[in-house]
């Protein structure tokens, strides 16, 4: 009759637990870094303010001229004051349970949706949709790198 004595199970168990914890950290890092990528890529979608379109009156008020002299170039949004662009930020990062993390990224100005989706009087000038699309490759790389680190 073969008799086997096994030891080291608890060490093995500890290592598995540590690995689970590491994958949780990796998941968090992926969404945090991914959020920054989305933010950056969404901001990159904006066309720079046309040169000369910003004017300051004698009273000191700043004006931004649009069409016809400085028309929009659809579908790319054009930066005028920069408020919408500058408001794009990572808004929250939260845990959805062990190994599950979520991050939210987007603008905070009220008219953000009008620009992104369009209105009855204006076509859409999406910035977050293409920004997100362009982020996928970089997010994949981040995920791979974080995953690799978690396995080290």
């Amino acid at each position: 009759m073969a008799e086997i004595i096994i030891s080291g199970i608890s060490d093995f168990d500890k290592a598995l637990k540590a690995d689970i914890a590491k994958s949780d950290v990796a998941a968090r890092n992926i969404v945090v870094k991914g959020a920054f990528v989305i933010e950056r890529k969404a901001k990159e979608e904006f066309r720079a303010r046309p040169s000369g379109s910003q004017r300051t009156s004698k009273s000191g008020r700043v004006y931004y001229q649009g069409a016809p002299k400085y028309p929009a170039v659809p579908p790319q949004p054009t930066q005028r004051t920069g408020n919408l662009r500058n408001s794009i930020k990572t808004q929250q990062i939260k845990s959805l349970g062990l190994g599950r993390w979520q991050s939210d990224t987007g603008p905070s100005v009220k008219y953000a949706g009008f620009v992104e989706y369009g209105t009855s009087r204006s076509r859409e000038f999406p910035y977050l949709t293409p920004g997100l699309k362009n982020s996928s490759e970089e997010i994949n790389l981040i995920a791979q790198e974080e995953w690799r680190k978690a396995q080290e």
Partner: protein, 526 residues
């Protein structure tokens, strides 16, 4: 103002499948521990110290096996991706590499590197296999890297300097040539695939002519520039001896005045008989060193005369090297390899790679892609029983690793598996008496195994944790990493959603990543 939907990109990283696999593994290990605890309780009379050491080895090797299998699979995947192989071709390549490794003692990693070169060079599976086999043997004989040898052979084939030669013959020539080559096979490879090899090949010279020339140049460390000038001057010899008007060229006249016949020199050159070419010069010079210099300048020009003189001055050695290569071929490779295997170093390498390949096979069990446990069990047991060297050196440790590996997959099969070893195998320990442990372990793996297990157990136990991530990676290959991105919240008012999906690869290379984008129109009605 209408209520505006927020514009938010949500990124979710979800490793729940991976977590589930890890939890499952944890549960299995816990169950396994519980079972073994029951067994150990039955053995109350026996202590735990020495047994812990033995099983420590077992656990370490079990995990080591998974690590090795993963490493091997990962390297194979790289070759598959870089050489554009199909899954079936990759599997076959893996098998043939393990076979070659078992015979030659060259590691799988090095063979895979070499395999990539052969596939990137466009060789078929069969030719690549022959080439790897020959390269591995040559690397054992010359104590050089299998990658360098493979490069040499590929270079020789690409330059068409080994026309009509079988790979084994070609490798035999390379091996024989390397004996007299300063810097060995590596230098020979560098010469063949570098400027010198290309320049000499341009004039139709074959491998057996190029190697002795290269060896002579290597001896005195002649600069590449001089050698290339020499090879260029070979073109002078085969040039027409008469001009358009039917008069002898100045080159032909100058050779005639020195007692040389350009036509004879050209005939030797065209037939690749470089030895004949130099022997004509040597004969005319009559052994006079200063006359050799004049003749060399006349035949090869001032730029090429330096390299030519190097050969003329060491003519006898050059002649000997050329003659040596005449009979070189497949036989040289076979006999050289047989001789090399009589030495202890290569023999140990063979044992090591055999063991490692067993571990690779064992480790595949821990990787979720392999499910054919029964066939593996039989072959493992058979291999261990028939291979004396393996059984003596690694008997206990391998068997213990095997048990642990199997246990993590099918806990209940341990007893029937142990039966395959043909003995009432046992690993036991006494509290203070290590001799008792030895006696028990001998039952499974022989005397050396008992002592080996005791000696190495403690050290390997420390490495257990180091290898655990490999198991985790194995699990990850199945579980993968899933994450999704959603654009905007989910609305209850039934507004339509636009959906955009991306597909990509996660680190395991086997799982799909879905990035899902949800958005909807604003309340404005668009």
């Amino acid at each position: 103002m209408a209520l505006l939907p927020p514009v938010i990109a949500t990124l979710i990283a979800d490793t729940k499948e991976y977590q589930a696999k890890m939890t499952e593994a944890q549960a299995k290990m816990a169950a396994f521990g519980k079972e073994s605890m029951t067994t150990s309780e039955k053995m109350a009379a026996f202590g735990s110290k020495a047994a812990s050491a033995v099983i420590g080895v077992g656990v370490a090797l079990g995990v080591y096996a998974a690590h090795e299998a993963y490493k091997f699979q990962e390297a194979l995947d790289k070759v598959q991706n870089q050489a554009g192989l199909t899954t079936r071709q990759t599997e076959e390549l893996g098998k043939s590499i393990q076979n070659i490794s078992n015979v030659t003692g060259v590691t799988n990693e090095k063979l895979l590197e070499a395999a990539l070169i052969t596939r990137q060079a466009g060789l078929s599976a069969a030719s690549a296999n022959d080439l790897l086999n020959a390269s591995a043997k040559a690397s054992v004989i010359t104590n050089s890297s299998v990658v360098d040898v493979t490069k040499s052979i590929v270079a020789a084939q690409t330059l068409q300097i080994a026309k009509g030669m079988e790979i084994a013959d070609l490798t035999g020539v390379l091996v024989k040539g390397s004996y007299a080559f300063v810097g060995g096979l590596q230098a020979e490879e560098a010469m063949l695939s570098g400027k010198i090899g290309v320049s000499l090949a341009k004039y139709g010279l074959g491998l057996k002519e190029i190697i002795p020339l290269g060896a002579e140049f290597a001896k005195i460390g002649l600069p590449t520039k001089s050698i290339v000038a020499f090879t260029k001057s070979l073109g002078l010899i085969t040039a027409p001896i008469k001009d358009a008007k039917g008069n002898f060229t100045a080159y032909a006249k100058s050779l005639t005045s020195l007692g040389l016949d350009q036509e004879k020199l050209a005939a030797s050159m065209r037939s690749g008989d470089i030895v004949g070419l130099f022997s004509q010069i040597k004969a005319v010079s009559g052994g006079n060193a200063s006359k050799e210099g004049v003749l060399a300048s006349a035949v090869f020009g001032s730029a090429g005369s330096g390299a030519a003189l190097a050969i003329l001055k060491d003519y006898n050695a050059y002649l000997k090297e050329s003659k040596n290569l005449t009979g070189a071929g497949a036989e040289t490779l076979t006999s050289g390899f047989d001789e090399a295997l009589k030495q202890i170093g290569p023999q140990l390498n063979v044992v090591k790679t055999n063991f490692n390949n067993l571990m690779v096979d064992a480790g595949k069990l821990l990787l979720p892609t392999v499910a054919k446990i029964t066939s593996w069990v039989s072959s493992f047991a058979a291999e261990l029983n028939k291979n004396d060297a393996l059984r003596k050196v690694f008997g206990v440790t391998a068997a213990t690793a095997f048990v642990v590996a199997v246990a993590s997959k099918i806990t209940k099969s341990i007893q029937s598996v142990m039966g395959l070893f043909g003995k009432g195998a046992g690993i036991a320990a006494t509290n203070a008496n290590t001799a008792a442990l030895e006696a028990n372990t001998i039952a499974l793996g022989g005397k050396a195994a008992g002592a080996g297990a005791l000696a190495t157990g403690g050290g390997l136990l420390k490495n257990v944790l180091k290898f655990i991530p490999a198991v985790a990676i194995g699990a990850a290959a199945v579980a993968g990493l899933e994450y999704a991105a959603s654009h905007g919240p989910k609305y209850a008012d039934g507004t339509s959603q636009r959906r955009l999906q991306y597909r990509g690869l996660v680190p395991s290379g086997k799982t799909t990543v879905n990035l899902t984008l949800h958005s909807r129109s604003a309340k404005s009605g668009r």
